[in-house]
Amino acid sequence: MPYDVQTPVYQGPFDLLLHLICRDEIDLWDVSLSSIVDAYVAEIERIGTLDLDVATEFLVVAATLVELKCRRLLPGPDDVELDEELALFEERDLLLARLLECKTFRNAAAAMSRLAAAAADSHPRTAGLEPRFLALTPDLLAGLGPLDLRAAWLSATTPKPAPQVDLDHVAPVRVSVSDVVDELAVSLPGTGRRSFRSITSRLATRLDVIVHFLAVLELYKQGRVELDQLESFGDLTVAWVAGRPAGDGAGQLDRVGTYDG
């Protein structure tokens, strides 16, 4: 008999987002981008081998959050087109609507669970016909064919097929943003200015590149690197801010994950 096993894994991106916002009462804008992304990356790592669709949904929501948050980090509204701003608001409202809908059904599910629990206290009578009436019952097998029997066997015995998605072609995600922040804090001071492309040239997946990009933004936020971009979509130059060698920042490295501002 198949049992549903309850695991602590989040039931999708909305679940995780609701958890972050509601249960922890976190204001997503008060916590660092890295902790949001880390939470998502951790979930993707955990579920990545199970279901590609779920992982994709996680990425979509994570990307929306990252985009919303990045707009906050980047300087001045001057260089943001009004249309883009409106599009972003729309995305945010859509996300909000979806979260509310998801939460509504979650509340309904909890109420249904209570109804079911109350109903389970009262057991139905299913004794059925007394033997003396059995002879009266018409031919119970009328209209039944061998295929119906086979179908009945299948419904009686079919276990829940576990979803099997071959994810061999997807490289597992191994780095978190804070890992990369640590890594860059060690490697950057010795090299002066480096282009973002050269930092990420050896990375295998787009997600790794995104994580590195977020790490660079994190360092920028902490005032430990300077960023330079000559043209839109051009390469980004990352320069360690002199006088703040890696050793100094140890205390701060531990605190990746909290913004002061």
């Binding site: 008999m1 198949p2 549903d4 096993v5 309850q6 039931q11 999708g12 909305f14 679940d15 987002l17 609701l18 916002i21 509601c22 009462e25 204001d27 997503l28 804008w29 279901d51 669709d53 779920v54 949904e57 929501v61 919303l68 948050k69 945010r92 409202d93 909000l96 979806r98 979260l99 509310l100 998801c102 509504t104 059904f105 979650r106 509340n107 309904a108 599910a109 909890a110 109420a111 249904m112 669970s113 109804l115 079911a116 109903a119 389970a120 206290d121 009262s122 057991h123 139905p124 009578r125 299913t126 004794a127 059925g128 007394e130 009436f133 419904s155 079919t158 829940k160 097929p161 979803p163």
Partner: protein, 188 residues
């Protein structure tokens, strides 16, 4: 002296295996449905007044005998087998969406929950809580799902309309505010 119709209702319900619809009782007893419903209400009240260990309930569109809920501790000692496993959170949430949005496709369920719903819907179908009720007329002809009679029985509901209105479950203003703040729609 109890009347014959009332006694016949008791006799029939005693050996029915599923809730018996008042329409069927009315036909068998050559009475109006309203009269049957009245008889059943009286029986319910009589059992309650006599403090019986069983109850007559209306569930999934029909009447049936059940053990009195407050005797669950005794009954559970007796019914060791056939206990159904509790549904997972995922299954319950999916069931809630199907219940309130039926007929609904798996894709629609997935859109609301943000995760693929195929495996969960299949499980619910195997357990007999949901079933296919048709096809989406639109392109793709997606299968549409609805809840079953068993679902009503498990929840102790007479009809799907007896579910509390979904509006009751819309998150309160604090939650909405928290979500809005969380997404930066409001300045903290």
């Amino acid at each position: 002296m109890a009347d014959e119709a009332t006694r016949a209702v008791e006799a029939i319900l005693m050996l029915a295996e599923e809730p018996v619809e008042p329409q069927l009782l009315a036909e068998l007893l050559e009475l109006s449905v309203a009269r049957v419903e009245e008889l059943c209400s009286r029986l319910e009240a009589a059992y309650a007044a006599d403090d019986r260990g069983f109850v007559l309930v209306r569930v999934a569109g029909g009447y049936r005998y059940q053990s009195h809920p407050d005797l669950a501790p005794y009954v559970e000692r007796f019914v060791l087998q056939g206990q159904t496993a509790r549904l997972s959170t995922a299954a319950l949430e999916t069931l809630a969406i199907v219940a309130y949005r039926q007929p609904v496709s798996r894709a629609q369920v997935a859109a609301i929950r943000g995760v693929n719903a195929d495996a969960v819907v299949r499980t619910l179908e195997q357990k007999g809580y949901v079933h296919q009720v048709g096809h989406d007329p639109g392109p793709g002809q997606a299968l549409l799902y609805g809840t079953t009679r068993l679902f009503l029985e498990k929840l102790g509901l007479d009809a799907i309309d007896d579910l509390p209105p979904l509006a009751e479950f819309v998150p309160g203003p604090e939650t909405v505010e928290a979500l809005e703040r969380g997404l930066g729609a409001r300045e903290a």
